[in-house]
Amino acid sequence: MDDLLKIEDLKISYYTYAGEVQSVRGVSFSVRKGETLAIVGESGCGKSVTAKSIMGLIQVPPGEIKEGSKILLKGKNLLEQSEKEWESYRGARCAMVFQDALTALNPTMRIGKQIAENITNHQKAGKDEVKKRVLEMLRLVGIADAKGCVKKYPHELSGGMRQRVMIATALAGNPEILIADEPTTALDVTIQAQIMDLLAEIQQKLGMTVILITHDLGVVANSADRVVVMYSGKVVETGTCTEIFEKHKHPYTWALLKAAPDMELGSKQKLVAIEGTPPDLILPPKGCPFAERCGHCMKICLETEAPRYTFSKDHSVFCWLYHPESGYTDITFDEGEIE
């Protein structure tokens, strides 16, 4: 398999006054060249932390990447890189687009300079050359008035424009991997659609690998090849887009899909709600993290972590329900099943 990036048993903790926050607790997945991998899950489940660790952006005093974690890029463990190597890696091989473009752009620096920085950081280029490339990038992301935009400050742009600038910045270094961390959460649906289209277009054009982080399943359904579902610092299910949306195996994935009202049906029936709240990451439950809110919760779920059950090349799930002895061997979640 041509895994471009492989993450193995990633464990990351943050040390706070309240205690050790185990943000990521043994996450493994892989990204293939040229595909779009979506990571979904609700707020605080460790999506951003995972992404940051791929960029080597985890602040080390509050955070800590545990021993044994591996992030392999073409077989090379990134976590063993020196700071110098990280610097030449960031932006050039792997770039990131952040959620809130207003805070992610330096408020006192002109747009052009911020984009150019990514270029000058990695290659020796003449002034004109850099300028040309910056304009090219801005045009690529669909900014018509690229020349005018270069001289502006971030606050002078609208939200959608800023997000485009962010994308242009990320692309300027010609990265192999683009990580988009909730690139559209702060935007309206219409703009969101524009940005997502843009990403897809660019990916096609440049053949980039994209890791898309979001909690909006709608976005995922429209743009991802494969999906990783995370819950409380763990991966609960992975699979291709269709597998996740149509043949999902994990109760959490199911609940997530059902929590939104169905546009098609449009009736006023009761929504399927997941009662309770996600567990506290300071003292995470020792069993399955979702057990407490799960309608199928079994005794073992509360006590022991679930093993991985694989259903196809891409589709695997961490859930005790698929243990041969559980009595649920062939589960399809219908509306009636969980109440």
């Binding site: 932006g91 952040f98 006192t108 920085e117 270094g173």
Partner: protein, 321 residues
């Protein structure tokens, strides 16, 4: 932008007027007759009255104030009772010395605090940070006059490398000599400001380093050093402009004490003399002068800040509180 400046400038006027009334009231409420140094035995009632009129200290306070304002509008701050010279002239005479001292102090504060603050912020919670923080706490806490005395003992008396006071050596008129005299008073005067600025820059460095744009810059592969100099520095320094404006007051008041301890021939000492001799016109002149400096300083700081910060320039005129 221009409208904003004009508007902001016009706002200064009522403040100045109110301050003048306020100061006038307080100063005139103080006990002691301003012209008592002036009246000598054997003077007749009329002579005394003439003198009172001459210095604008006769009649009720409203009349006095109105008369005073009338003169001020014409650029005349009155005549010092004690020194018997126009207040403007006296102030102008002492101004260079004070400005040199204040300027040097400000310069030292900035030159020292910016690198220290950045460094401490970068090494947050490490040994360097702790040492710098401790020093800056010390700087904020130490009484200036006390520090002055100690530094005089150390540098002027024990090590004998710097003069203990004054602005120039008699009969020597070189810049080098002036600088040597300037060192101690300027350092003492700058001390607390340096400390305050350092703390401020440190914490703003820390918070700026936590900003998302730093993460973005890092994700572009920008090195730490470049992030500090290209991204963080400007954002850190912007608030310092305002801080400097606010701390002008500290400089003006600090010079009172410092100039006295170091025999610096500046305006602060003139003011102390004025207070002691109830020299109303001079006190008022001084009050108005320093008040104008403060207000103008803050005004300039606001404008500068607005000019330097692209975000504010746009929303200018928005806050008219």
């Amino acid at each position: 932008m221009r409208n904003y400046i004009i508007k902001r400038f016009l706002q200064l006027i009522p403040v100045l007027i109110l301050v003048s009334i306020f100061s006038f009231l307080i100063i005139h409420a103080a006990p002691g007759d301003p012209i008592q140094n002036y009246v000598k035995p054997g003077m007749s009632e009329e002579q005394i009255q003439t003198i009172r009129e001459e210095y604008g200290v006769d009649g009720n306070i409203v009349k006095q104030y109105v008369a005073w304002v009338g003169h001020v509008v014409r650029g005349d701050l009155g005549t010092s009772i004690y020194k018997n010279r126009p207040v403007t002239e006296l102030l102008a005479e002492k101004l260079p010395a004070t400005l040199i001292l204040m300027g040097a102090a400000l310069l030292i504060s900035l030159l020292v605090s910016i690198p220290l603050g950045l460094w401490a912020g970068l090494k947050k919670n490490k040994m360097t940070d702790n040492i710098i923080s401790f020093l800056s706490y010390f700087g904020i806490s130490v009484p200036q006059f006390w520090l002055a005395m100690i530094l005089i003992i150390i540098f002027a008396l024990t090590l004998e490398i710097l003069p203990s006071g004054g602005m120039r050596t008699v009969n020597v008129d070189t810049t080098w000599d002036l600088l040597r005299h300037l060192v101690l008073p300027a350092v003492v005067l700058s001390f607390s400001n340096t400390a305050v600025f350092t703390r401020y820059i440190r914490s703003s460095t820390i918070s700026q380093l936590e900003e998302d744009y730093v993460l973005t810059a890092r994700s572009k592969g920008t090195s730490r050093y470049r992030i500090l100099t290209r991204h963080v520095l400007k954002n850190c320094l912007l608030p310092i402009i305002t801080l400097v404006g606010i701390n002008l007051a500290g400089l003006v008041c600090g010079s009172f004490v410092i100039e006295s301890v170091f025999s610096w021939p500046g305006i602060g000492r003139l003011a102390m003399d004025a207070v002691n001799s109830r020299d109303y016109p001079l006190i008022m002149g001084f009050t108005m002068f320093s008040c104008t400096i403060l207000i103008l300083g803050n005004f300039l700081a606001d404008i500068l800040y607005a000019v330097a910060d692209p975000r504010i320039k746009q929303g200018m005129g928005k806050n008219n509180g």
